[in-house]
């Protein structure tokens, strides 16, 4: 008997494509079989005959039959994906990784420090937190985008602002922008937090994660209260190919969510 092939994908069909920003689209994908996952886990999404890459769903974990992936057009695989439309077929395998430790979050205030396309996995986390809203006394999100055009999920932000404390900033404002300007870490200066009680989640591009983490440490967060969703070049997703390693840890298997205390003594952490 052939054992299950961990490199084989199941079929999925794109049902809907939402243009979030000029370079970012959300793909609503229906897999043949429900794809159960925990928020923060990721899938390997395959464009047949083109390529495969890891993405965390941005949709709620309690809806495994219809997933959403919000993806920026940055490389070969994502450019081909961006050319696809409703009815087109993709592949999915996973879920992989540990996901966010919701049990460890329970009873604590949650700070989400999010940059750019770090929002998609954060959205999956928010769905889970909001489903169990009473367990988290305070939820604060600080989101930074490059410019007003680069803000994702604009159609949901008003509603989100009613459920949690939502702060937003852009690096480069345009003429119509009336909100805050500056990198996302500047938002932290205006938010007062109970450091002993708060778990901070940092997701975003490497440079933002680096300075976000340094800022949180400076503000006084202990390293074990800073949760990072890490990203690296990845092929297998199952702890074999070794491309995603930080020191001896596999991002795909031991992560992608790490407490900073797990990583702080390693070198070459950030890209």
């Amino acid at each position: 008997m052939m054992k299950k092939n961990p490199y084989a994908s199941q079929n999925a069909v794109i049902e809907k494509v939402v243009q979030e920003t000029p370079g970012i689209k959300t793909f609503q994908v229906r897999p043949d079989k429900a794809f159960s996952f925990r928020c923060g886990q990721f899938a390997e999404l395959l464009v047949p005959g083109v390529g495969e890459a890891p993405f965390a769903p941005s949709s709620p974990a309690y809806r495994p039959e219809l997933l959403e992936f919000t993806i920026q057009n940055v490389g070969y695989m994502t450019s081909r994906l961006h050319a696809m439309d409703a009815g087109d077929r993709v592949g999915l395998r996973g879920p992989y990784g540990n996901g966010f430790p919701l049990d460890a979050f329970k009873g604590r205030d949650i700070l989400l420090l999010i940059g750019g396309v770090g929002f998609p996995p954060a959205r999956a986390l928010l769905y889970s937190l909001l489903q169990d809203r009473a367990s988290y006394p305070r939820i604060v999100m600080c989101y930074g985008a490059r410019s007003p055009r680069d803000i994702v999920y604009q159609y949901q932000l008003d509603d989100l602002g009613k459920e949690i404390e939502f702060h937003i900033t852009v690096d480069r404002p345009d003429e119509g922008w009336t909100g805050k300007t500056g990198v996302v870490t500047t938002l932290l200066d205006k938010v007062s937090l109970n450091l002993g009680k708060t778990a901070a989640v940092v997701i975003g591009p490497p440079i933002m994660m680096k300075f976000g983490t340094l800022k949180l440490l400076k503000v006084g967060f202990p390293p074990e209260s800073i949760y990072l969703s890490m990203e690296r070049k990845m092929y297998c997703g199952v702890g074999q190919c070794r491309h995603c390693m930080i020191d001896h840890l596999f991002i795909c298997k031991d992560g992608p969510v790490f407490q900073f205390s797990q990583l702080q003594h390693f070198s070459d952490i950030w890209e």
Partner: protein
Amino acid sequence: MTSVERYYVGKEQWESILKDWLFKYSVLAPLKKAGINHIESITSDNYQKIIYDEARPVQPLKTFLLPSLEDVAGGSPQTQKSSLLLGIKACDLSALPILDRAFGGDFADPFYQARRDKTVIVSSDCSQPWETCFCTLVGGQPYPLKGFDLNLTKVWDGFIIEVGSLKGRDLFDGYDKLLKELVREEELALQKMRREVLRKVDKQNHPHYLKRSVSELLDGQWESEVWDRHASTCVECGACNLACPTCHCYFLDDVTRREGVKLRGWDACLYSGYAVTAGGGTPRPRLVQRFRNRYACKLQYLEKNYGQLGCTGCGRCIEGCQGLIDMRKAMHELSKSPGAGS
């Protein structure tokens, strides 16, 4: 098996058994090819030319369990004849537990597993180490102690055969009467030969002796100038990675323009593109970072992941290096340079 099970078999008897095995197995063993010991397919034409002793062949054992390129999209690999690998040396055998653990577990690779299950390993003692051999420097020895189905030690005009597994025992079904119980002279010859080879490897590596244990070599040495010095002649060809019996990094490639094909191929962490993401970022943009990463993987990470050192001292990385980089020299310098333990 509680005690060591050993027999003596004469060369003629051994070859008569081997001829029978040629029908049942696809037999692979080292032959001389342009002066190099190269594992080749064995047939009734060349079985008498097999090199049982000397030292390791040019190909690492992983070549036969994890092909350099294969399609891993579909079903099981073609049902093939079982393989009998002959003449495998201790430095390759001791890499096997790392591969077994990496490709086993929760997400076991069925392609590796299928080949592994169908492979019988008949190892043999080294009699003459290459100049690049350094197994004793990293805790090994030039003769197999475990991990084989059978092990051969060439003595006089025959072999001492040690049975290492039931699979190995079964190979002799029907041939029992060709095996002779070991006599004391043969036992002593084996001990003497092993002592001598061990001494040879030790002696040629004396200039590279390590002042600290291998697993402590990197302590306090992350910023050492040893890295810059040794990486300075690296041409990023990846030969050290590809030739290494424990290296098993791979890429997956769907860019085939054909659906249902997913190629897996050996990758090398020395390549500048190894960890580059779609956005162009990489955690190790500088060559010296990638060079250091390989050593860290061999000497620390693999041990943390799979419980054993990632270097077996086979010396292929030295032999294959275009930049004349010698891992023994780098390790020796790391072991004595100041800053250690700081």
